[in-house]
């Protein structure tokens, strides 16, 4: 119930922000931390994460007219802009991408990569296997295992269907397993 009420008030704020961007402040305050941490996990330092977060909100303010309520939360739209900003940054600066890993998440990832002999991979091997993934594949894996997002949420952020997100994730895990078994 309260979630629904929040959504209605958020919709109202978005409509107000479409008319006057000063109303965007409420959305900025609400989502700054989430977007900042999302970018910090993928960037070199806090200053860079802050800069990219600011860019994300500036782009959001510039393009809020194009945001439509299609059942997706506003945060998914912001995450998508943040991802685009991050990709633009790495492409422009030709730097290596940063990945943040929670060590606690590695056993769970290892369980997701089943082998014929029920073998559990070491953390080092798992980390090494991340290097065979493309940036898109890595983004999927990051969201699922290190940020514990649902398939639904991943689909919303990446602009793909839930089924597609599941299939893609399955392929990523298969790719990692093949690499580790052959290594």
């Amino acid at each position: 119930m309260s979630n629904n009420v929040n959504q209605i008030t958020e919709e109202k704020i978005i409509l107000l922000a479409k008319k006057d961007r000063k109303h965007f402040k409420a959305l900025y305050t609400k989502y700054f931390e989430q977007i900042f941490l999302f970018l910090l996990r993928r960037s070199e330092n806090e200053d860079l994460a802050q800069e990219l977060t600011q860019q994300t909100f500036i782009k959001a303010m510039l393009n809020i007219e194009s945001f439509e309520f299609k059942g997706f939360p506003f945060s998914s739209w912001l995450y998508r802009i943040a991802l685009n900003e991050l990709n633009l940054f790495y492409r422009a600066n030709k730097k290596k991408r940063f990945i943040s890993i929670e060590a606690d998440a590695l056993p769970e990832l290892s369980e997701e990569i089943p082998t014929e002999e029920d073998f559990r991979f070491s953390n080092e091997n798992l980390i090494r296997a991340l290097n065979v993934l493309s940036e898109g594949e890595l983004t999927l894996l990051e969201m699922k295992f290190f940020e514990k997002r649902s398939h639904n949420e991943i689909g919303e952020i990446l602009g793909i269907s839930v089924a597609n997100a599941k299939v893609k994730l399955h392929r990523v895990i298969k790719k990692m397993r093949d690499f580790m078994q052959n290594a």
Binding site: R21, E33, R41, I58, K96, R97, F98, I101, L138
Partner: protein, 107 residues
């Protein structure tokens, strides 16, 4: 366990258990005024907003352009009608001359 795996063979820089700033530290980094300023600066640089900003001056120029278009259309159609009349005149004169010639031949 807080380390960073960085080597030449690695495609990515991998941070394991990175330190996250506190909520207070994140809050200090919030700057809506700055973002809003940057937004207005960017928004005002688009051609449409430039047009909107100079609306009174643009209105006069637009009126002048529209007036010039209307005048040129009128002049063009007037010329066209004049040309048509000239052609009709010529045809009429030609027919009249032909008739005169025919009557002369008959005589």
């Amino acid at each position: 366990m807080h380390n960073q795996i960085m080597s030449e063979e690695n495609k990515y820089n991998i941070k394991v258990n990175p330190k996250e700033p506190s909520k207070e530290e994140i809050r200090k980094r919030m700057d809506f005024e700055g973002a809003f300023k940057a937004y207005t600066h960017k928004a005002y640089r688009t051609p449409f907003s430039k047009f909107k900003r100079h609306a009174p001056k643009n209105r006069k120029i637009s009126m002048l352009i529209i007036l010039a278009i209307i005048v040129s259309i009128l002049v063009f159609t007037e010329n066209d009608e004049g040309n048509k009349n000239l052609k009709e005149d010529k045809i009429e004169r030609y027919n009249h001359n032909q008739e005169n010639l025919d009557t002369l031949k008959l005589d």
